[in-house]
C-alpha cells in the first residue's frame, strides 16, 4: 500500500543512472525520486555531474544505462515526438538563460508556443505572454531585446519563458549563478512563489546556499557520481560528516 502511494506521488523516478564521458564516470548508479509539489536541490562540486543529471532527465544527454521515468514514461525509450510532448510538461531554466539574442522578449516567449499556435489562437498567446511576464514582474520589457536587460531581468525572462507552457516540473540549472546576493534571493523567492502558484515540482542545481535554504524541501548531495547524502537543510547542516559540512561552512 505504502509502495503504491509512493508510485503515484513520484513525478520523476531515477534508478541506477550511469553516464561517462570517455574515462570520466560522471554519474554512477545514481538514484532519485521527485515527488509531486516537492523541491529538491542537488548540491555538488563543479564538474560533479549535476547539470548532466538534469540534461539526462530532459533528454538532451543520453545516459549510458539506468532508468529515468518522468510521469511514469521512460525518457530513454521515447520517440522524438513523444519526447517533445514530455518536454511540454517539463520546463528547463538554463544556467546561461539561453535567451535568443536575435529576438525580442515577446518573440522569446512566443517561441515555445509555436507548436501550439493553432490550438491556442493568437490572442490567447498574447494573453499567455503577458501573464508569464507579469508573473516575473517584467511586463514592461515585452518589446525589449535581451541585450537591453540586466542579468537579473534576463533570468526572470528566462523563467517566464520556462513557465509559458505551464510545466508541471521545472528543472533549474544554477538559477542564481552570476547574480548578486540580493537579486539571487529575489529569484529564489520567485521560484518558491511559482511553485506555490502552479503547484510545480522542481529539481534545482545550485551552489548558492541562500537559494538552497529558501527553496529546498530536500537536499541531495552528489559526490563521486552518487547520492552521498539526502535530507532537509537543517538535517544536513547539523551533520558531522566532513564531506557534508564543507558545503554548509
Amino acid at each position: 500500500m505504502q509502495k503504491e502511494e509512493n508510485k503515484i506521488q513520484a513525478v520523476i523516478q531515477i534508478n541506477d543512472l550511469k553516464k561517462s564521458f570517455g574515462t570520466n564516470e560522471v554519474l554512477r548508479n545514481f538514484n532519485l525520486q521527485l515527488n509531486e509539489g516537492e523541491n529538491i536541490v542537488v548540491l555538488g562540486k563543479s564538474g560533479s555531474g549535476k547539470s548532466v543529471l538534469i540534461k539526462c532527465i530532459i533528454g538532451l544527454i543520453k545516459p549510458d544505462s539506468g532508468s529515468i521515468k518522468v510521469f511514469g514514461e521512460e525518457v530513454t525509450d521515447l520517440s522524438h515526438d513523444n519526447l517533445d510532448k514530455m518536454r511540454v510538461k517539463v520546463g528547463f531554466l538554463f544556467q546561461s538563460n539561453a535567451l535568443y539574442d536575435s529576438m525580442t522578449v515577446r518573440e522569446n516567449l512566443e517561441f515555445p508556443l509555436r507548436r501550439h499556435w493553432v490550438q491556442k489562437g493568437k490572442e490567447n498567446v498574447n494573453d499567455l505572454i503577458i501573464e508569464a511576464l507579469k508573473n516575473v514582474g517584467l511586463a514592461e520589457t515585452i518589446d525589449m531585446m535581451p541585450s537591453e536587460l540586466s542579468g537579473g531581468m534576463r533570468k526572470r525572462i528566462a523563467l517566464a519563458r520556462t513557465l509559458i507552457l505551464k510545466p508541471k516540473i521545472i528543472l533549474y540549472d544554477e538559477p542564481t549563478s552570476g547574480l548578486d546576493p540580493i537579486t539571487g534571493k529575489e529569484i529564489s523567492r520567485l521560484m518558491l512563489d511559482i511553485q506555490k502558484k502552479y503547484n510545480t515540482s522542481s529539481i534545482i542545481i545550485s551552489h548558492d546556499m541562500n537559494c538552497v535554504k529558501i527553496t529546498a524541501n530536500r537536499i541531495i548531495l552528489l559526490i563521486d557520481g552518487t547520492c552521498y547524502a539526502s535530507g532537509t537543510y537543517d538535517e544536513l547542516k547539523k551533520s558531522s560528516d566532513s564531506k557534508i559540512k564543507q558545503f554548509f561552512d
Binding site: 538532451l60 518536454r87 535567451l99 509555436r114
Partner: protein, 255 residues
C-alpha cells in the same frame, strides 16, 4: 604528426558527411520552417548584394581595361565585349561571388550558430519542442543555395555594365552594339554551367558554415575559431567545386 593531421582531416570529413546526410534526412520531412527560410533568404541576400554588386562592377571594369591592350595588339579590339563577357559570366563572377559569400555568409552563419551553441540557445530550442537542425541548419542551407545563383546572375549583369563603361573609356561603343556583340558569343552553354555550379557553391557555403557553428566548443574562443574555419573551408571547397565543374563541362563538351 603527419598521421594526426591526416586523422583529423578524415575525421572532420566524416563528420561533415554525416552532417550533410542529416541535412537531406531532415530537409524533406515535415515540419517545414518556411517563415524562417524566407527570413534567411532576405538576410543573406540583403547582406551580400551591395558587396557582390560593387565587386562585380569593379571586376567588369578592370578585366575590360586590362584586356584592351592585348586584344588591340592582335587587332582584335572588336572582340573585347564577347571575350570579356564570356570570361566574366563563365568563371570570374561565379567564383568571386562565391568567395565573397564564403567570407560574408559562411562566417556569419558559423559565428551565429556558434554563439547560440555556447550560450545553450540551441539546447533551449530543442527543449522547447523545436528541432534546431530544421530551424537553424535546413533553413540557412536552403537559403544560401537559392540566393547564391540569384546573386551571381545580378552580379553578372552589373559586371557587364562595368565592362560596357570600361570599353567606353577608350572608344565609343553604343549600348546596343555592346549587347549585340555579347550575345553573339555568349551562349546558353556558357550561362547554364555557371548557374549550376553556383547552386553547389551556395549549398557548400551554407552547410560548412552551419557545420562549423553547430559543433562549436570551448566558449567564445571557439566561436571565433568556428567563424574563421567556416570561411577557410568554404573558400577551399569553392575552388574544388570550380575545378570539378570545369572538368565535368569539359567531359560533356559544354565549352
Amino acid at each position: 604528426m603527419k598521421s594526426t593531421i591526416l586523422k583529423d582531416f578524415l575525421s572532420e570529413t566524416g563528420d561533415l558527411t554525416r552532417f550533410t546526410m542529416s541535412f537531406f534526412r531532415e530537409a524533406f520531412r515535415p515540419r517545414y520552417e518556411f517563415s524562417e527560410f524566407l527570413k534567411q533568404c532576405y538576410v543573406i541576400g540583403n547582406k551580400t548584394l551591395p558587396l557582390v554588386g560593387i565587386t562585380g562592377f569593379i571586376m567588369g571594369l578592370v578585366i575590360t581595361i586590362q584586356s584592351h591592350p592585348s586584344l588591340k595588339a592582335f587587332g582584335a579590339e572588336s572582340w573585347l565585349p564577347s571575350v570579356v563577357s564570356v570570361s566574366l559570366v563563365r568563371e570570374i563572377i561565379p567564383v568571386i561571388t562565391a568567395l565573397i559569400c564564403a567570407g560574408k555568409i559562411g562566417s556569419s552563419i558559423g559565428a551565429e550558430l556558434g554563439s547560440m551553441k555556447v550560450t545553450e540557445q540551441i539546447d533551449a530550442m530543442e527543449v522547447s519542442g523545436t528541432n534546431p537542425f530544421k530551424y537553424l541548419v535546413v533553413t540557412r542551407v536552403f537559403a544560401a543555395t537559392l540566393i547564391l545563383p540569384i546573386l551571381v546572375v545580378l552580379s553578372d549583369a552589373i559586371s557587364l555594365y562595368g565592362a560596357y563603361l570600361g570599353i567606353n573609356l577608350k572608344q565609343v561603343v553604343s549600348f546596343d552594339l555592346f549587347t549585340n556583340q555579347i550575345f553573339e558569343k555568349l551562349t546558353f552553354s556558357d550561362v547554364l554551367p555557371s548557374i549550376i555550379k553556383s547552386y553547389f557553391f551556395g549549398f557548400c557555403i551554407g552547410i560548412i558554415g552551419c557545420f562549423k557553428g553547430f559543433y562549436t566548443i570551448n566558449g567564445t574562443q571557439g566561436v571565433g575559431r568556428s567563424a574563421n574555419s567556416a570561411v577557410v573551408t568554404a573558400t577551399f571547397v569553392v575552388f574544388i567545386i570550380d575545378l570539378m565543374a570545369a572538368q565535368i563541362a569539359d567531359i560533356f563538351q559544354i565549352t
